[in-house]
């Protein structure tokens, strides 16, 4: 379907697709097998200016919005979401600085991210605090011109590979969720170390590690916004980055359809291609319809988010929820269409189905997305929010 994208947006899509085709496709199976971080591809994406899509021009970016970033993520995801998450997680790590950094912080940290010279990462989750982020135990204590961090972050994408980390830690436990704050921590800060690389079901080329803070001393100037703003920073960041996970879902679904449809035309059973069976056609029809619906919701959601409305939590959650549930279903059906061959490592849909699962889990599980949508809905219908006509 034609979404009437601008010339620049089409240019982004085309170049991202070219990078996916020429640089990612030939190595995706090998990167998965070896669980190797795609540094060479990150370098190519950096040279192509892709890391700066959503960053203002004054900080070395291209001044685009969430839609521009999502177009690039979608095209990369059509070939490999381990690559696209490594790319997108840098945005997740940079958004807190972009949204809440002061002039010096932005000037210092955004240009290297925009140029792809440094990757960023976002550290919120801990062993005992996943969906319930309010339960984080990592602390930051002010000590003169420094903060001292203690605690462990778990499953942090780009952990160990990134140079710049946005970290959420408690500055005042007595205040509960209002006692969290956001900090910028650089790789190499004294007392900042990494755990081993996790072994995962999917997105195996991406790096997921523990971040370990043991009396880690950082300059007090690395506090983002004010003390106590940690969870606001987190929520606003996730609102901006969740469409990126949706874009992964849309691209991944499309990639699975590409494989399944091509295969169905060539696989002959009972004297004719399986694509001639209505049962297969119906599966492909549903996969395509659902993927197109997810894409339409994604693009519409991005345009809405880029118009800077007051609240975007519900829309960001809907986009993430629908596109990632779609990706899980579509990749599972792609394996089904390809039968035993689909289950084998020789064909890419095996990896696609393994990879898809993470999309329903990270950046808020899809249960949590439904909670967000439900909560916003109830707010709307109790008339708490202005501009809502009830009844």
């Amino acid at each position: 379907m034609d979404y009437f994208l601008s010339e620049e947006q089409l240019m982004i899509k085309e170049l991202a697709a070219q990078i996916a085709r020429e640089k990612v496709l030939p190595v995706r199976a090998e990167l998965d097998e070896k669980e190797e971080f795609p540094w060479e591809i990150m370098r190519v994406l950096g040279e192509a200016d892709m890391f700066g899509l959503y960053i203002p021009e004054e900080y070395g970016g291209l001044g685009g919005g969430i839609l521009e970033n999502c177009l690039a993520i979608e095209e990369l995801s059509r070939v490999c979401i381990a690559v696209s998450v490594s790319f997108a997680a840098s945005g997740l790590g940079a958004y807190p600085i972009l949204l809440y950094g002061n002039a010096e912080q932005k000037q210092k940290y955004l240009p290297p991210v925009a140029g792809g010279k440094s990757l960023a990462a976002f550290g919120l989750t801990e062993p005992n605090a996943g969906s319930d982020a309010g339960g984080i135990q990592t602390t930051a204590v002010k000590d003169g011109d420094s903060y001292i961090l203690n605690g462990t972050k778990q499953w942090i994408t780009n952990g160990g590979e990134a140079e710049i980390y946005s970290i959420i830690a408690m500055t005042d436990r007595s205040r509960g969720a209002r006692g969290a704050s956001a900090f910028i921590v650089e790789k190499g800060a004294p007392g900042f170390n990494f755990g081993k690389k996790e072994k995962k079901m999917g997105i195996r080329a991406s790096a997921t590690r523990e971040l370990i803070f043991e009396d880690c001393r950082i300059p007090a100037a690395n506090l983002l916004a004010r003390e106590g703003m940690g969870f606001i920073v987190t929520m606003k960041t996730l609102d901006k980055s969740r469409p990126g996970i949706a874009a992964q879902g849309v691209g991944l679904s499309q990639g699975a359809i590409d494989e399944a449809a091509t295969y169905a035309k060539s696989r002959v059973q009972f004297g004719k291609p399986i694509a001639a069976q209505q049962a297969i056609q119906h599966m492909l029809a549903d996969m395509t319809t659902q993927t197109e619906a997810a894409r339409a919701l994604l693009y519409a959601g991005c345009k809405f988010l880029d118009s800077n409305p007051k609240s975007i939590s519900k829309e960001a959650a809907m986009v993430k929820l629908f596109a990632t549930d779609t990706a899980m279903k579509v990749t599972t059906d792609a394996v089904q269409i390809m039968g035993g061959y689909g289950y084998m490592r020789e064909y890419p849909v095996e990896k696609m189905m393994r990879d898809a699962k993470i999309l329903q889990i990270y950046e808020g599980t899809n249960q949590i997305q439904r909670n967000v949508i439900g909560l916003e809905l109830i707010k709307e219908y109790t008339g708490k929010k202005e501009g809502v006509a009830v009844g």
Partner: protein, 261 residues
């Protein structure tokens, strides 16, 4: 360093057909690309700029549509582009092409280095690079696979040979043709693509480059095309017969005769 890269727009090789009547390439309806070897020349130009500073200018002689090739070059990170285009250039052979390009390079001022592809995938003669050097009376090296160093008016390069490589040092300004072993061409960047969309590309006519009309186009092209055909592919090989011993003796004798050992 001021570097000029000569690029040629060629038909996408997968689709090339020859008109048996006129002995010329059928270009209608065939998508055009930048001659693949010229991509390596451009990449090397950009890398030299990154190493030594300066600017890289691309030059092409061709019809107005060749502008697309120049814009693609800009999207990769080339600084400037010039289209050398005039009806008077039509029908140029390698002699006229080399002369025309040399005149255009002369107009660019104090150029240090000219880079060309090893050969064009359509014409395939590999004559234009050396032809430019001859016209300018500059140093020349073909099949360059590595530029070791440049500076103080000199350049040192490795030239790929059948049995290894030569190290060649020559004075600047010079002309080089490059092979694909020299680097891996980069993809375009978004900023490059946006710049490519907007940049003004000057078009230089025969007058603008101050060329002698007698040496241009068909007039300046002594090449007579007699016939164009695909040579038959003949594998030269001989199967030795007889007992293993006999075979070995004959093999050794043959190797001696061929002066291989």
């Amino acid at each position: 360093m001021k570097i000029v890269v000569c690029i040629k727009q060629v038909p996408d090789v997968a689709d090339v057909r020859i008109d048996p009547e006129t002995n010329t390439l059928i270009r209608e309806g065939v998508p055009s690309i930048i001659n693949p070897f010229d991509m390596y020349a451009m990449e090397e130009g950009i890398r030299l700029r990154e190493r030594f500073g300066g600017e890289v200018i691309v030059l092409t002689m061709g019809p107005p549509q060749a502008e697309a090739a120049l814009r693609e070059a800009i999207s990769m990170g080339i600084d400037q582009a010039v289209l050398v285009s005039d009806r008077a250039f039509a029908g140029s052979d390698t002699l006229a092409t080399s002369y025309t390009l040399a005149m255009a390079i002369g107009k660019l001022g104090a150029v240090d280095l000219v880079l060309c592809g090893k050969q064009a995938i359509d014409g395939d003669t590999a004559q234009v690079g050396p032809g430019i050097a001859e016209n300018l009376n500059w140093g020349f090296a073909a099949y360059v696979r590595k530029i070791e160093d440049a500076g103080d008016g000199e350049i040192t390069v490795e030239r790929l040979m059948d049995d290894g490589y030569d190290v060649v040092r020559t004075q600047l300004p010079a002309v080089m043709t490059v092979v694909k072993e020299i680097n891996e061409p980069r993809l375009p960047s978004l900023k490059g693509k946006m710049r490519a969309k907007k940049i003004e590309i000057p078009v230089w006519s025969s007058e603008a480059i101050g060329a002698d009309p007698e040496r241009l186009g068909l007039k300046g092209s002594p090449t007579q095309v007699w016939k164009i055909f695909t040579p038959e592919f003949r594998r030269k090989g001989e199967l030795l017969q007889g007992e293993p011993r006999e075979q070995v003796d004959r093999l050794v004798a043959e190797i001696r005769r061929m002066n291989i050992v």
